[in-house]
């Protein structure tokens, strides 16, 4: 990236260009000295919502700055961290085991731990007793060929101990610097990150999270990288104080999206006597460098394999959409996903992917693109940050993506393609990709834009029960179930991952006490564009009850929503369902001559404002027949924390109303 750093700098030294010092602003200086623990720190207690916390982070201070490596003659960055905890109870003991992961590239590039010191402090009879980290409590484990894990275990840790770690890492990997998280699962009193970046290197930084981080300093300071040469660095200080603990919540992309944090990616270099080298400062720059990459743009262009197989795949087919489907099916059935998300291909040629018959998301989807390109079908890569990778900040930053899918244009229509799962039809992408938007790139014209990845195929489940109630209170008849979109994807996945149909039926019956079924049939299992249909003949016991001369049951039987998914009083983050969905239920029931309806519950419709969600239930009876319909529509994939309350109330109504019973009276 900037291999020639020293060369440029030395050159500058010879020319003797001088640089003037920038004046440093005075700021309030907090002191964090290793080994200097004040008795008052032992008094620290957790308060408020975190009053039962297992530990408190007293401070967490990081430094990030640069040096010239004597080995590579290039810039390396130094990361220093000094962290101190007060252990409040035994649940916090694990903090005394510290782990550091160090990365090693395939070449000589690596990360080293240069220094580690750690101690435990206990207050014994008013005096501070220090226990240093023992030599034999430092461990190193070669996890695999890329990662070495350093582990440290502190002695004499008990409730009330203060522990601290201070260490230093040097890293050759300057494209992404170590970022900083200002919040964790225990409360933090003070968190601070000081970053000094040489004037020759330009980084983009990315802030995210749901807590305010201060930026009290941004100034130019002097920094010496080559002895005798004065140069400057940009010094930024980021701080956060009194940050509460962050707790897990359901329906999120990843909790990491909600942690206040800062991340860095190299944008450009500007060495003296060298031109301004822009890596990724703008989308066109990013796209241009993607186009030039062996494992992206050039990978797609290698058309040898495509040329050799296309005639056999298309067999003269002329219709573009039909061609698209044929190629998509070919890739889906010839390459198997190895469960890894990547945005760059592993190799440099689609041919090796087809030979290996397995690959990452990038291997598969970029190979698909090479085939589409050769078939002259207009298609583009769409960069994605998967749900577990977290939300992309939106502005030009390539490292925040971790996946790639495709979008194809046929006539006026756009189609998403993700060939990583045989059961994905055209337009449906695997659900890890459902982070609401992706960035499509046009490599030829070096343009691109954000596009919505919300699916056009509705996800729906329809239950249709057609039953007769007999005098032994058994329900006998037929059940049909229909699935579409992600519901169908989930059902297909479940079906295929089960040993055989007998086992599948067992699983199906497992949480449906009283159900016996015969003639189970599943239609369109391999016909992805059609409605996935299940049908069966059933006898249901134990669901209709009798007390005195009254007979009663809950008509939603096994499909009742029994629990409100949203139990917490409030929520700070959005509710992210990933995709909208609909569930509808219809039961048609005939009952014996001797029975009379004693009570039908009241029907009703519950709507969220602006048609964001609906629940309805209604009851109709005629003669000795009864029909109950219930339907739930969640019309958005994402609900804000302000909408949480409405959503919670909607589900409360669903649970309550679906639990209501139909009562028959027996003629005596």
């Amino acid at each position: 990236m900037c291999r020639t750093a020293l060369k440029f700098l030395v050159l500058m030294l010879c020319i003797g260009t001088g640089y003037s010092f920038a004046q440093t602003k005075q700021t309030v200086k907090r002191e964090f000295k290793f080994g200097k623990v004040l008795p008052a720190e032992f008094e620290t207690k957790a308060t408020g919502v975190d009053s039962s916390a297992s530990a408190i982070k007293l401070f967490d201070v990081g430094e990030c700055y640069f040096e010239i490596s004597p080995v590579t003659k290039d810039f390396v960055y130094v990361f220093e961290r000094h962290i101190r905890y007060k252990i409040l109870n035994k649940n916090g003991y694990d903090l005394a085991n510290y782990t550091i992961n160090l990365y090693k590239g395939s070449g000589s590039e690596k990360e080293d731990l240069n220094y580690m010191d750690a101690s435990t402090y206990n207050l014994v009879d008013g005096k501070i007793v220090i226990s240093k980290l023992n030599k034999d409590a430092k461990f190193s484990e070669a996890f695999n060929k890329n990662y070495t894990v350093k582990k440290f275990a502190l002695p004499n840790v008990k409730e009330g101990s203060i522990i601290e770690f201070k260490y230093k890492i040097k890293s050759d990997f300057i494209f992404n610097l170590r970022g900083w998280r200002f919040q964790s699962d225990i409360p933090t009193l003070w968190s601070e990150y000081n970053v000094r970046i040489p004037e020759y290197l330009k980084y983009k930084n990315n802030f995210s999270g749901y807590y305010q981080v201060e930026h009290p300093l941004h100034e130019t300071v002097s920094a010496t990288y080559v002895s005798g040469l004065n140069s400057n660095a940009i010094y930024d200080k980021y701080t956060a104080a009194n940050v509460p603990a962050l707790k897990d919540e359901p329906f999120v992309t990843t909790m990491d999206d909600y942690i206040p944090k800062i991340e860095f990616e190299l944008k450009a270099t500007q060495f003296p006597n060298d031109v301004y080298r822009d890596f990724n400062s703008s989308w066109p720059k990013i796209i241009t460098s993607l186009a030039e990459r062996e494992d992206f743009g050039l990978f797609i262009n290698r058309n040898g394999y495509a040329k050799s197989v296309l005639p056999g795949i298309l067999k003269g087919e002329k219709d573009t959409l039909a061609c698209l489907k044929l190629i998509y099916d070919y890739v889906k059935s010839n390459i198997k996903w190895n469960k890894e998300h990547e945005k760059y291909a592993t190799g440099t040629n689609p041919k090796t992917v087809f030979e290996k018959k397995t690959g990452t998301t990038a291997d598969i989807n970029l190979s698909l693109l090479s085939l589409l390109k050769e078939a002259k079908i207009e298609a583009y890569p769409v960069l994605i940050s998967t749900r577990s990778n977290g939300e992309h900040p939106g502005y030009p930053i390539i490292s925040a993506f971790n996946n790639v899918i495709l979008v194809a244009k046929v006539g006026k229509d756009f189609h998403f393609l993700d060939a990583t799962d045989k059961d994905l039809p055209l337009d449906l992408i695997s659900d890890e990709n459902l982070s609401h938007q992706g960035f499509y790139v046009d490599l030829k014209n070096a343009t691109g834009n954000w596009i919505s990845t919300e699916t056009l195929i509705p996800s729906e489940k329809i239950f249709s029960y057609n039953l007769a109630l007999n005098k032994e209170n058994k329900l006998i008849g037929k059940i049909n179930q229909y699935s579409r979109g992600y519901s169908a994807l989930a059902l297909r996945d479940n079906y295929r991952n089960t040993n055989n149909e007998t086992e599948f039926i067992k699983k199906f019956k497992k949480d449906k006490t009283g159900l016996e079924l015969t003639n189970y049939k599943i239609d369109n299992l391999d016909n992805l564009d059609e409605l996935l249909t299940e049908s069966m003949d059933v006898v249901i016991e134990d669901n209709v009850e009798e007390a005195g001369n009254l007979v009663y049951f809950t008509p939603l039987l096994f499909e009742r929503t029994k629990e409100n998914l949203f139990k917490l009083e409030e929520r700070k983050f959005p509710v992210d369902f990933a995709f909208p969905f609909k569930e509808s239920y219809r039961i048609t029931l005939s009952f014996p001559e001797e029975y009379e309806i004693d009570k039908l519950p009241k029907g009703g419709i519950y709507k969220l404002p602006d048609d964001k969600g609906t629940f309805s239930i209604n009851y109709i009876s005629e003669g000795k027949a009864l029909m109950v319909k219930s339907s739930i529509s969640i019309n958005k994939s994402l609900y804000t924390s302000e909408e949480y309350f409405d959503l919670k109330e909607l589900f409360k109504a669903i649970v309550e109303k679906q639990a209501e019973q139909v009562v028959f009276k027996k003629k005596v």
């Binding site: 002695p155 991952n497 040993n499």
Partner: protein
């Protein structure tokens, strides 16, 4: 001459195996594909003992994956440590017809450290290879050699690998030199062949055409339906030590000698012990003081390296750092007790494993260490890795099993305490009061003992926000709002915990016309029934014996009278007993439920009776009262 012949045979065998088509799926007998997701086509284990501390293991397996559900069976995951190396790995993928698809390269094989999930550090590593194919069925074949330097245990063998997988052919051969002694244990009807080849003896076991078995709930293992063999050395060398395993006595002696001199304490710690116990009168009081000192001042850190997986860290060292694994902490506690003049013994135990076999001593039957303190009147067992457990309570994962007591005279098999039906109790008294609008105020007081204490105790370590979630999730009552709750362990030395919960709900009464229904069991309802299994093959057991008692007193809303209450119910079976009693007086209903379960191991044919028993309980738990509105 004999030597050459062996080579020829080997070469011939190799040729025939690599010939195409041998793994043709069509060649699998139909009986082996029924209920199977994968079929072991051929498995060959060969273990050649070369010395007290060295051996070579040659392994080869071919598995046909029939469907997507069987994919995980096709992964290679081979474990080694610093006393063995895995080399010469060969791996090949075949299609359905048995045609070779590809050979894997060594760069396809991952090598990484293996985490056991709780150790900070240990030295097991794993060679990993994921075979992938986009079409089914396919066959994977791999082989490797493993060189052992240090022999504590031998690879074992079992023809059936689990549920849903059948075996066409599998064999194990162990070769030893004359004079080397070892013992083996086989399943009931497994035949052992032995041949003498020069100065070597080979033992062979084999199995063929074993159909797959569908997974069975609550199963107590597949020992009774599979052929298996376990082998253990008598004399051995390992990590610079030698020992003898021919019986538990010698095994225990080896353990004892590993730890000789491991019991010394620094003078400061000795002084501390004397200070701590200076006012204690009885050995039991002293033990209590020292055990709670241990719990307050040490933490669990597991580091398992080489012989360190068996030898406790010196007590002196633990006194310095105040952490250690089960061995280090048990041994440290032993040293503390010793300083107080109380003798004790280390115990080697299989935590959550099967009881140790009194007649067959070997490694691999245990994974944990606790301490046994034989006092005059009673014996106390101490779990030294827990910072919370009451003294003497070792939990159901340690209870009721054969364990090895380590003494200076060698090892001895003893049995740990049993927590029975009466010990593992849950006694719950509930008051439910309806106001005029039908809102119910619910007060629940519960006491939990022993195994049931263990289940609830974990909740008390959670943060309040988590506790609220768990309480709401665990409740059977519809639409609850949690008002207050409290957990209390009145006596920290006893495994008993009390819980008080107050709820409010508007959804308890189901109204129909001028009637209202009330499900009477609101606090301990069986919500599902296990499915029946036809032709069950494995034994089954419930996790532990227990005893639940529930009493609920309802005060009905004004204007309602009881129109119907169910009749009392008694269900008895060999699995346990169940009673439900319903009584009404004025505007109250009293519901009393009892259930006891015993955790014996039951034969497969009893399973459907067990299901029937559960079904009756399920129905009994749904009983409702009908309330009528006075007009």
């Amino acid at each position: 001459m004999k030597y050459i012949l062996t080579i020829l045979v080997t070469v011939f065998a190799y040729c025939s195996i690599s010939a195409q088509g041998i793994y043709d799926v069509a060649k699998i007998p139909e009986a082996l594909t029924k209920d199977a997701v994968a079929v072991i086509r051929n498995e060959e284990q060969f273990f050649d003992i070369k010395g007290l501390g060295s051996a070579q293991y040659d392994y080869k397996i071919a598995i046909t994956i029939l469907s997507k559900a069987g994919e995980d069976w096709g992964d290679m995951e081979e474990v080694y440590d610093k006393f063995s190396t895995i080399n010469n790995i060969k791996a090949t993928l075949y299609d359905a017809t048995g045609k070779k698809v590809k050979d894997y390269k060594s760069s396809d094989i991952k090598d990484q450290s293996l985490s056991d999930g709780f150790s900070l550090l240990q030295d097991n590593r794993v060679k990993l290879l994921k075979f992938t194919s986009n079409t089914y069925p396919y066959t994977v074949e791999y082989s490797f050699s493993q060189d052992f330097k240090g022999l504590l245990y031998f690879p074992s063998w079992r023809d059936l690998k689990g549920f849903g997988i059948s075996t066409e052919k599998s064999s194990y051969a162990i070769q030893k030199y004359k004079g080397y002694s070892m013992r083996y244990l086989t399943s009931k009807n497994l035949k052992t062949d032995s041949v003498i080849i020069g100065n070597k003896i080979q033992y062979k076991w084999k199995s063929a055409d074993i159909p797959a078995i569908v997974s069975e709930p609550l199963n107590a293992g597949i020992d009774n339906i599979s052929a298996w063999i376990k082998v253990a050395p008598n004399q051995f060398e390992y990590d610079g030590t030698t020992g003898n395993f021919d019986n538990w006595k010698d095994f225990g002696l080896w353990m004892y000698n590993l730890n000789v001199d491991g019991n010394r304490l620094p003078d400061a710690t000795k002084l501390m012990v004397q200070n701590l116990i200076k006012d204690a009168k009885t050995p039991k009081q002293k033990m209590q003081i020292l055990y709670s000192h241990l719990q307050q001042n040490t933490r669990y850190v597991s580091v398992q390296l080489g012989i360190g997986g068996f030898r406790p860290i010196l007590a002196e060292k633990v006194a310095q750092v105040n952490y250690g694994d089960c061995k280090a902490l048990s041994n440290y506690m032993k040293a503390l007790l010793n300083e107080a003049g109380i003798p004790s013994n280390l115990i080697v135990i299989g935590n959550g494993m099967q009881s140790m076999n009194a007649n067959y001593s070997s490694m691999g039957q245990a994974n944990h260490m606790i301490l046994c303190v034989p006092l005059e009147k009673d014996t106390t067992f101490l779990e030294c890795t827990s910072q919370y457990k009451p003294m003497g309570f070792i939990g159901y994962d340690n209870a009721d099993r054969n364990v090895l007591l380590v003494t200076d005279g060698g090892g001895k098999i003893i049995h740990t305490p049993i927590y029975g039906v009466k010990d593992n109790y849950q006694i719950r008294k509930t008051n439910i009061k309806f106001n005029d609008e039908g809102t119910a105020e619910i007060g629940i007081k519960s006491a939990y003992g022993n195994a049931q204490f263990e289940n609830v105790f974990g909740i008390t370590l959670q943060e309040p926000s988590e506790q609220r979630k768990i309480i709401i999730r665990n409740s059977d009552i519809p639409g609850v709002e949690l008002l207050t709750y409290k957990y209390e362990q009145k006596d920290k030395t006893l495994p008993v915990i009390n819980e008080e919960i107050n709820f409010k709900t508007t959804q308890l009464l189901t109204k129909g016309g001028d009637k209202a229904f009330l499900t009477l069991n609101q606090t301990n309802r069986k919500e599902s029934v296990p499915l029946k299994v036809e032709n069950r093959k494995t034994y089954f057991a419930v996790p532990f014996s227990y005893n639940d008692e529930d009493e609920i007193i309802y005060t009905l809303p004004k204007g309602y009278s009881v129109e119907f209450i169910p009749k009392d119910i008694n269900i008895t079976s060999e699995f346990g007993t169940y009673t439900a009693k319903f009584a009404t007086k004025d505007n109250t209903i009293t519901y009393v439920r009892t259930q006891t379960m015993s955790n014996k191991k039951y034969p497969p044919e009893k399973y459907n009776e067990y299901v029937e028993f559960n079904k009756k309980i399920y129905q009994a738990d749904k009983q409702k009262a009908v309330l009528a509105k006075a007009l």
